[in-house]
Amino acid sequence: MTTAATDRETPPFAAAAREAALTAAVALALTGPMIGLHAASQATGLVIETRWPEVAIAVALVFLGRFLLALLGRAFVWPVLAAGLAVAGGGLFVPFPNALLKAVCVAGGLIVALRAALMLVRPRMTAAARAKPALAARWVAPAAGAAMTAFALLLPVMPFADRQLLDLATLVVIYILLGWGLNIVVGLAGLLDLGYVAFYAVGAYSFALLAQYFAFSFWEALPLAGLFAAMFGVLLGFPVLRLRGDYLAIVTLGFGEMIRIVLTNWVALTRGPNGISGIPKPSFFGAPFARSPPEGTEAFHQIFDLAFSPMHRVIFLYYVALTLALLANVFILRIRTLPIGRAWEALREDEIACRALGLNPTSIKLSAFSLGAMFGGIAGCVFAARQSFISPESFSFIESAIILAIVVLGGMGSQIGVVCAAVLLIGLPEWFRELQDYRMLAFGGLMVMIMVWRPRGLLSHRDPTVRLPAARETPP
């Protein structure tokens, strides 16, 4: 709110203080009723408690943060860096009435310090240095991919890998698979699909129902789950893919809800909201993971002469999910460089130009939609195997939103970006379950932060799918 004109007249500290005071006043108006007044239920009934110290601290923190940022805008870089670190450090030791305020204080101090540090670093980057990342990205992405793959492969033998962690890792891998699938539709083909969870549900229920009614095993059901989901993709795609942008988003959203409602209400087939339980776990090529296998079969631990451990099953499921994800990754990386992959991206860039070049938009969209759906279905099948129990509740709109957030935050079209975002959005919230309700707050804050700093996603760099090779010698 300070203009350049007032800057010239007032000394910088006063201007910054005034800006901060204004922000603090807004904060006071907001926090006063929202934090200051608290309805608590006591024996006598509902009473209103006041929490003025918290309000005061919150307003003070806002003032301080705004003040430091305003000073930063006036080129006091070093003092702000020091002050930011001091606030963050001090926040760790000063007692706060509330853990959240402490977290805000520490995080805020760190953020201010980080911004100051960035300002110190940035001007030193010359044009040459800035051109470098493009070159570096050519080998950074494969190297990072290889490192992540190695880590993922070794995870079960790491000392800290307990059952809970592996179970969580399996879930993260499932979401990575979902993210990659949706990435084809949203990131590459540019079709905003808000009902992706429908294909996830189709995959999961395909396996659950096939197992329940026809005693299919995981391995028999897996390809069928992918196929059914792809077929649903085509079925849905035909009528809706002529719609664009927002309209497509709304229709797919409706479709996602429809599937869930059908699953809830078709009680005769799906047992409705009670869900389906007893979904079998994948066997080790026919050998079950059971302490006492059924007559005539040999269990995994007997074949390998190991002591029975329930961990085997968890580790195996993790590897199954990981293998499927890695296969999907290879497949997607490869298909991106094929004409169909380039056509997806061209369609995202300009549909009219595509038509003028002889590309059939409907069939190209349909291929993206159904391939994405197929990966959703495969992920659903693995999910059903992990849970052993599924119900329509697992496939609500929030799932679609989370998968979409993974794709968008990761950087549309980026494979590694999806991995990072999936770890961030699925792994961390589960880890920090102790934070309880603040978990979702932190989750939202994280999303806002990513959108502010990296509006095009964590990793938005795109490498061309084909490069012009050096000219070949033409024989005379």
């Binding site: 497949f331 490869r334 298909i335 094929l338 004409p339 169909i340 380039r342 056509a343 991206e345 061209a346 860039e349 300009d350 009219i352 130009a353 595509c354 038509r355 003028a356 070049l357 002889g358 590309l359 059939n360 938009p361 795109r462 061309p464 799918t465 084909v466 490069r467 012009l468 090779p469 000219a471």
Partner: protein, 272 residues
């Protein structure tokens, strides 16, 4: 010099509600010839292109494309993407429509989608990297390189198309259309926004395309140095109606044309 008849437009009419954008227009374009369509703003030139390339279904009219003695394609009955792929009409747009976040080379590869798709056999041969597909991909890159050389953008093949300067984007759009191996190339104001040197380069490029590829070129253009300099035949539109047609020299002296359009810019036209 010019070849056999390629495109017949007969009684083309396009109405938007009450507005008649194109009114009973008939003309012909030949192989290995540059046919210019000119006229004041709003005369209906772009609408003719949109009818030809299947973006608008014409209200009335027959559009026939005949390639080298084959049975003709009835364009008014075909979908846009089939017109491009089967009949072989490629176009550029008045407001450039490249794939801005894809590289220059990728833009040219997308133009060869149909051939590469056939070679990749539902992407299976492509996924497996079979030799047939690899050879087709190499061929497509070679063709792209040929056109990059012709438009002088070989150095920038791996840059994003959206980062090119304006004039380069215009040339790239022409090259992309040519990579689709068209029988008829439709250019909607290719010289718009180019400086004099770039315009001269464009003239040379279009003449080269006419000589080496021997395809028909339909050219919408306001810049008289282009129209008078390189076209073999000119069709003049005004309010959707054809008011004159003939050789460039005849057009610059036609009183109707001067009144409708050339009058203001006649002085800029170079002697031809």
């Amino acid at each position: 010099m010019t070849g056999a008849p390629l495109l017949h437009v007969e009684h083309l009419t396009m109405r938007f509600g009450g507005l008649v954008a194109v009114d009973n227009l008939s003309f012909e374009a030949r192989e290995a010839a540059i046919t210019a369509v000119i006229g004041p703003n709003g005369a209906g030139k772009t609408t003719v292109f949109n009818c030809l390339t299947g973006f608008y279904p014409p209200t009335v009219g027959r559009l026939t494309l005949t390639r080298g003695g084959e049975a003709g394609f009835q364009l008014e009955r075909m979908e846009g993407h089939r017109i491009a792929r089967e009949a072989g009409i490629a176009r550029t747009f008045q407001n450039i429509r490249l794939f801005p976040q894809m590289s220059v080379l990728e833009n040219l590869m997308v133009a060869q989608h149909a051939e590469l798709m056939r070679a990749s056999v539902f992407s299976v041969a492509g996924l497996l990297g079979l030799p047939g597909y690899r050879a087709a991909a190499r061929g497509a890159i070679d063709r792209a390189r040929l056109w990059l050389d012709r438009i002088g953008l070989t150095e920038r093949a791996d840059d994003d198309a959206g980062n090119l300067p304006y004039g380069d984007q215009r040339r790239l759009e022409i090259a992309r259309a040519m990579c689709a191996r068209p029988a008829l190339l439709c250019l909607d104001e290719p010289a718009a926004g180019l400086n004099a040197r770039e315009t001269a380069g464009l003239n040379a490029l279009l003449l080269e395309i006419r000589e080496t590829e021997r395809i028909g070129i339909l050219l919408i253009e306001h810049d008289m140095s282009v129209v008078m300099g390189i076209s073999d035949h000119i069709v003049v539109l005004d309010y959707g109606r054809k008011i004159a047609e003939g050789k460039p020299a005849a057009m610059r002296d036609n009183p109707d044309v001067i009144r409708a359009y050339l009058g203001q810019e006649h002085g800029e036209a170079p002697p031809c």
